[in-house]
């Protein structure tokens, strides 16, 4: 029997630039227009940690432990 699985999608560290291109945000990234939705720091290829979608908006997150923790907590799913 197939077990219930939580699929978590991840980005390979060498594919970050491709990822931004694939979501159509590489221009904004290059211009420094993307900011961490938690601390406001400018997102770069090096400090990018996660992205989430909430109410149609993309929320980006930098690699500070406190920010990623906050983002995951913010999204914690009430699926009941």
């Amino acid at each position: 029997m197939e077990r219930e699985k939580e699929v978590i999608r991840t980005i390979y560290h060498k594919d970050v630039a491709n990822f931004f291109e694939s979501i159509g945000s590489s221009g904004e990234l290059a211009r420094g227009e993307i900011r961490c939705s938690i601390c406001g720091e400018i997102i770069t290829l090096n400090n990018f940690r996660a992205v989430a979608r909430k109410s149609e908006n993309l929320l980006f997150c930098c690699d500070k432990e406190s920010c990623i923790h906050e983002l995951i907590s913010h999204l914690k799913g009430d699926k009941a």
Partner: protein, 366 residues
């Protein structure tokens, strides 16, 4: 590793061909286990890809290693966790392959995480364990919980999963970067964490509190969250905390009744009491049924391990607890939901055997 090899050499030198045959059978048995066990084979796949990555340095091998290592280790740990019921979902790590796509590829409420290189795997494991716990535990009640209590329960669950993984580098990373900074966030988090840890040390976090909260979430489906609901949960934690920190001969409440939670607990901890007979415990069980409790737990804290115990009395103690279980099911016709054996430490630091059984009376509609 060396001790394994020494054992194998000893087997061969002592038993000759029979020793070789024995080792061969052992290897076949282990291989069969790996093949038939999805999580074990994932862990082995990870080891193979790790070796390939170390030799070749190829990205494909690194990706396969990271993905299989995380899934295999977290899923094995999750399986070994002592939940009364199936609790956390299994994890599946998938690489985002969205070349040429649009933002629509990211689903509402989905989080996509950039993982670190294979050399920082401990960080990757903690990150995804955190995501798994927050996405698949405390479902249906997160909107009720206030942040300090929710955070304390999450941290403890993540900690338990990582302990089960059994890699000290992973645990060290978690304690340094996640656990301590979050616990020190506020006095409230510190206080709730202290309570949750005490409950956990008595074995009642995954085996009772989370089971009961899962039950609770089913009872309140469709109801908007309220502060009364939060207080019910907070009081349940306090109730279990009092029981977990109970000292010898101290009286603590053994039933918990609120609008949505009605549970009774029968605590068998004192040898001298049960050796006189199980009637008092059966009377307590009858009282719980009469009160229409939805779950009745029988918790047995056995005599201290390794102490100078009276072996005759201990045997009698075990017999009496077994007959208590039989008599409960025979007299009250109450189905047993689960029974879990474990070890815990009492307030004096003594290691004790323990057993928790959950009974759900037939009048409770599941």
């Amino acid at each position: 590793m060396i001790s394994y090899l020494a054992t194998l050499i000893e087997l061969v030198s002592k038993y000759g061909a029979w020793g070789v045959l024995l080792i061969f059978i052992g290897v076949i048995y282990y291989l069969l286990r790996v093949i038939l066990d999805e999580d074990l084979s994932t862990v082995w796949r990870a080891r193979i890809y790790k070796a390939v990555y170390k030799i070749s340095g190829k990205s494909e091998a690194e990706k396969k290693y990271i993905e299989n290592d995380i899934s295999g280790r977290i899923n094995l740990a999750r399986r070994n966790m002592p939940f009364g019921k199936e609790y956390l979902a299994a994890i599946k790590v998938e690489w985002f392959e969205g070349m040429g796509g649009k933002t629509a590829q990211i689903k509402e409420n989905e989080i996509i995480v950039r993982l670190d290189p294979a050399e920082s795997q401990e960080k990757n494991i903690v990150l995804l364990t955190d995501a798994l716990v927050k996405q698949t535990s405390l479902i249906g009640i997160r909107h009720i919980l206030k942040e300090p209590l929710e955070l304390s329960m999450d941290l403890n669950l993540i900690k338990n999963l990582l302990i089960e993984i059994g890699d000290r580098r992973v645990l060290d990373w978690f304690f340094r970067n996640e656990y301590q900074p979050n616990v020190n966030k506020s006095e409230e988090v510190k206080e709730w964490t202290g309570k949750i840890v005490e409950i956990d040390e008595k074995g009642l976090f995954t085996r009772l509190l989370l089971v009961q909260l899962d039950d609770y979430s089913k009872r309140i489906i469709g109801k908007p969250g309220s502060s009364e609901m939060f207080h019910e949960i907070a009081e349940l934690v306090d109730f279990l905390y009092k029981m977990s920190t109970k000292v010898y001969a101290q009286d603590v409440p053994l039933d918990f009744i609120t609008q949505n939670i009605k549970i009774g607990i029968i605590l068998v901890g004192e040898t001298s009491k049960i050796l006189f007979g199980i009637e008092n415990y059966l009377t307590a069980f009858a009282y719980n049924i009469q009160k229409q409790f939805t779950s009745i737990y029988v918790i047995i804290w056995d005599k201290e391990f390794l102490g100078n115990v009276d072996s005759k009395a201990h045997k009698k103690f075990v017999e009496m607890t077994e007959s208590l279980d039989r008599d409960i099911q025979k007299t009250f016709r109450v189905p047993k939901d689960f029974e879990l054996k474990y070890t815990c430490t009492d307030h004096e630091g003594n290691k004790r055997k323990a057993k928790i059984s959950r009974y759900i009376p037939e009048y409770v509609s599941q």
